[in-house]
């Protein structure tokens, strides 16, 4: 039975609660005496706050507190501590919270917001990263060099550059000298919203003795606790963060968001609990997004298709805050040559402030963005040198023995991107691209794109797991990784069932997370969940198995070494009819005469990332990657060569996941990720007016894929085991969405020969390019 546990499609934990509407999200929660918060948002992209008059709002019956930035002298953040809770002195983007109110009902709070008058003096705004890096650009933040930050980030004084990651490998000038072709292109993509279905929502309660209780829709309860403690100067043990069911995250609920605000509002409201829930419009306007990216790539290549030099500039549009943006800039830079071996690389990746909503983590953490540029460049270069995009990739792809741009050696335990490439090309019959069967004016095209990503996290990221027996011989697994839809808890239950040789139905993974009772986890991000928590869980199981054996050894009168675990029992290896059951051991073994031994069984396991090092600030050399997951997509499109209208007929996507723990959930991640990437590819993107107002702030103006939009999809799973992964597994949560946009654009280029360099891929832009091509 238990041998089949790994790889099996065990039904998702808590599916019943979710499908019956019984699952309680923070969205659904009310706490006795609760007040409701609303915020007044900045109408300007960049303006000085001249005066705020809150007097009328304060007099409105039912209003408990009104706060402005002056009341909150705190900075909050994870990597670069640059976020105000409410705007102080000036506003830096349209949608920035300026004043907040807590009142007895949402209606009263809204009324109070309307009664607040804010006087602004408009300042010059900077909206494009290319303008923001100019010497005379308006500064979004003054004195950025004084901001507190993690020691690996370096804000540049007197500029809008919050961080600059440099990667230097080989000699790029020499590389370009060797090149037969040098091809340079610029690429662009807009900001994109996560649109988790549950908007950001938090309830905070200030308690006597500077204590705080929080219920929040967040990915990482311990990150919320840590950043709140640091930001508001509180003790960690005085803050209790509870995370119940979470309605989607995708990176948007990593780090900390409105938790400090509700905490401060509660403090100002005599300790009444305060709830804030973003409306969808506020979610679009005031909650961070995926950064925009402008890229410039210069590639040197020989006649036979070997890339010999690559010079890359990434300008990340971080918006008004770079707390998370600096780390996206760093992490993506370490993957910035794509999944290819290039001997000579000069790469500069800069986080740039602009007067727009700010950036944060989003599924893929910068990799969808850079691989838009890299994988488009690959096809543009392949076309220029007259080589098949497949052969060109195959020739340059990372493989055993390759050295990455940070100096990491690709070895036996790594995945194989070449297998992913082969699999998807075969699946869509890449070489066969005839349009003969199509109606006149329609052209078939096929495109491929590769991807790779490692978890982006501090080098010393850690996690832990507790295991305890229940009276009936079942176990509870507790940990602080949050399962907001990935299915990780189900995989972890399978691991426990396999390790302890017990039915998976008897493994209860505790769903609601709480920092007072659960062991530490850094954050639920980076596709590191199953890898790291899986390893911690295995260690907890090993600890438990040892304890079971040590207690059982006494009544069995055998040594621990001669005992095995099987069928929820501890047995003597060569006399399997002599055993003690888990149930008999769970709370301590009791002899027939009443003597008890052992006691209630509790086990623990922990895991910390192994062998990682910070990259050198001047050369980018170091070891930043826990594990690389490789993948490839192949896409078939049919394009109208006159109008640019197109249909994506099918997508094939392959990932080297190391080892499947739960097949159905791996497929679920692939399907969901591919369609999220498809949204980025063909419809999503923030649009701003010339003065920096967001134009796409509802589901009417910001479209995401519906069930009617999805193309045929074939997920392909490849398993080359990762030596240090649990059972050989590596993460595959973010990867499916990466490189969908270039795969689509490459297919379009293949069909009608237009060279799109700007996302999303929409018929309007293709039409322009078609017209341009005609007039050339």
């Amino acid at each position: 039975m238990t041998e089949e546990m790994i790889g099996k499609s065990v039904k998702r934990i808590k599916a019943l609660e979710k499908v019956t509407g019984n699952a309680t999200f923070v969205h659904d929660m009310e706490v006795q005496g609760m007040l409701y918060a609303k915020m007044k948002l900045s109408p300007h992209a960049h303006a000085k706050i001249v005066n705020i008059d809150t007097s009328k709002a304060e007099r409105l019956p039912g209003v408990w507190s009104v706060l402005t930035g002056k009341d909150l002298p705190y900075k909050v953040g994870l990597y670069l501590v640059d976020k105000d809770i409410l705007a102080v002195n000036k506003v830096r983007y349209q949608g920035e919270p300026v004043v907040a109110v807590a009142a007895e009902s949402e209606e009263i709070a809204e009324k109070a917001i309307e009664l607040i008058e804010v006087e602004y003096e408009k300042l010059d705004a900077v909206l494009d990263v290319r303008d923001a890096v100019k010497e005379d650009a308006p500064l979004v933040h003054e004195n950025i060099e004084e901001l507190e930050s993690a020691p690996v980030f370096f804000p540049k004084a007197g500029t809008n550059i919050a961080h600059h990651t440099k990667i230097r490998k080989g000699d790029v000038d020499k590389g370009f000298e060797e090149a037969d072709y040098i091809i340079e292109n610029e690429f662009d993509l807009p900001m994109v919203d996560h649109t988790a279905m549950e908007t950001h929502t938090s309830i905070g309660q200030w308690k006597p003795g500077k204590k705080v209780k929080l219920w929040t829709s967040a990915q990482s309860p311990f990150a919320v606790r840590n950043l709140l403690a640091n930001g508001l100067h509180l003790n960690h043990e005085d803050i209790e963060v509870t995370v119940p069911y979470v309605g989607g995250g995708f990176g948007g609920k990593a780090g900390i968001h409105f938790e400090p605000l509700v905490t401060c509002l509660s403090r100002a409201s005599q300790g009444r609990p305060v709830k804030i829930t973003m409306s969808r419009m506020e979610e679009f306007n005031s909650v961070p997004v995926r950064q925009g990216l402008f890229s410039r790539l210069k590639t040197g290549v020989t006649k036979d298709g070997k890339i010999v030099a690559q010079e890359t500039e990434f300008l990340w549009d971080s918006g008004a805050n770079a707390d998370y943006g600096v780390n996206v800039t760093r992490a993506a830079a370490t993957a910035g040559a794509g999944p290819y071996e290039i001997d000579n690389v000069k790469l500069d990746s800069k986080t740039v402030y602009t007067n727009k909503i700010f950036g944060t983590a989003y599924r893929g953490f910068g990799h969808l963005e850079i691989l838009w540029a890299i994988e488009r460049q690959m096809d543009l270069v392949a076309e220029e040198i007259g080589m098949s995009p497949y052969d060109f990739r195959m020739k340059n792809a990372l493989r055993r023995g390759s050295v990455t741009i940070t100096g990491e050696h690709i070895g036996e335990s790594h995945g194989k991107i070449t297998e992913c490439l082969e699999a998807v090309a075969k699946e869509i019959d890449f070489d066969n691209r005839s349009s003969e069967d199509l109606e006149k004016g329609k052209k078939r095209g096929k495109g491929i794109a590769l991807l790779h990503k490692a978890p982006a996290m501090p080098t010393n990221t850690g996690t832990a797991a507790f295991l305890k027996f229940n009276e009936n011989g079942s176990v509870n697994l507790t940990l602080s990784l949050v399962d907001y839809g990935q299915g990780t808890y189900t995989a972890l239950a399978q691991i426990v069932a396999d390790q302890l040789k017990m039915p998976v139905e008897k493994v209860n993974v505790v769903f609601e997370q709480n920092t007072d009772t659960q062991p530490y986890d850094w954050q639920t991000v980076a596709s590191k969940g199953l890898f790291m928590s899986g390893n911690a869980t295995i260690k907890a199981c090993q600890d438990m198995a040892q304890q079971l054996k040590e207690v059982a050894a006494q009544p069995l009168r055998a040594s621990v070494e001669d005992l095995i675990i099987e069928d929820e029992k501890v047995k003597i290896r060569h006399h399997k009819d002599q055993y003690v059951t888990f149930k008999e051991l769970a709370m301590g073994y009791t002899y027939p005469n009443g003597n008890g031994i052992g006691g209630p069984l509790v086990a623990r396991g922990n895991y910390i990332a192994q062998g990682l090092s910070n990259i050198d600030p001047e050369t980018g050399q170091g070891h930043p990657a826990l594990d690389w997951t490789y993948g490839a997509h192949a896409v078939e499109v049919i394009v109208d060569e006159e109008t640019g209208e197109f249909e994506v007929k099918r997508i094939a996507s392959a990932f080297d996941v190391g080892k499947v723990i739960n097949e159905s959930n791996v497929i679920g991640q692939i399907q969901g990720g591919v369609i999220q990437g498809y949204g980025s590819a063909v419809m999503e993107g923030y649009q701003f007016s010339d003065d920096g107002r967001l134009l796409t702030n509802s589901f009417t103006d910001y479209k995401v894929p519906s069930i009617a939009d999805i193309p045929e999809l074939t997920p392909i799973i490849i398993e080359n085991a990762q030596e240090d992964g649990p059972y050989g597994a590596r993460g595959v949560a973010e990867h499916p969405m990466i490189s969908i946009p270039p795969a689509v654009a490459n297919a379009v280029q293949d069909a009608i020969g237009v060279q799109l360099k700007e996302m999303p891929v929409i018929p309007e832009k293709l039409y322009e390019l078609i017209e341009e091509k005609k007039n050339r």
Binding site: K14, G21, D28, T195, Y245, G485, G487, Q671, F699
Partner: protein
């Protein structure tokens, strides 16, 4: 304020509502049927879907006074104790649930479809569910779940 009568999952309620109160708030805040969610507040995402007089509606853009005298079905009415509906079973079996926030609305849209069309094509399913946004699953498993539910109910033969 106006007094209205609602039948929710077969149970009768009489209550006072404000003229501008939306049905979703009445269900969630006054009657504690919190299975329906607010995802957008403007009828675009389908998280608040309930069935009103046999039709799937987005309850965030229906005034409670408009619902006076109507029969409503919500996700809470789809299971009795441990017994869940065929559609709910199919959603679990096809792994058509990830974060679960859109799931109640999805199930209600699927129920309204299968009630009027026990044998839907893929296109019928896509049309009926195209107003329900799911950001997690990519929809493939949801489409499969609706097909499986139709089969289980005896359609799609």
């Amino acid at each position: 304020m106006k007094t209205i009568n609602l039948t929710v999952n077969g149970r009768d309620f009489q209550l006072d509502v404000k003229d501008n109160e939306i049905l979703l708030d009445t269900l969630r805040k006054k009657l504690n049927f919190t299975g329906a969610k607010e995802g957008c507040g403007e009828g675009e995402c389908g998280a608040c879907t309930v069935i009103m007089d046999g039709r799937a509606v987005t309850s965030c853009i229906i005034l409670s006074v408009e619902a006076d005298g109507s029969e409503l079905e919500t996700i809470e009415g789809q299971s009795i104790g441990e017994e869940i509906s065929v559609i709910q079973e199919a959603f679990i079996e096809e792994n058509a649930i990830q974060c679960g926030f859109c799931t109640p609305g999805m199930v209600m849209s699927a129920k309204a479809l299968l009630d009027r069309n026990p044998n839907p094509s893929d296109e019928d399913i896509d049309l009926a569910l195209s107003g329900n946004i799911c950001r997690c699953t990519g929809y493939y498993s949801i489409r499969d779940a609706v097909k499986r539910a139709a089969e289980k109910k005896g359609g799609n033969k």
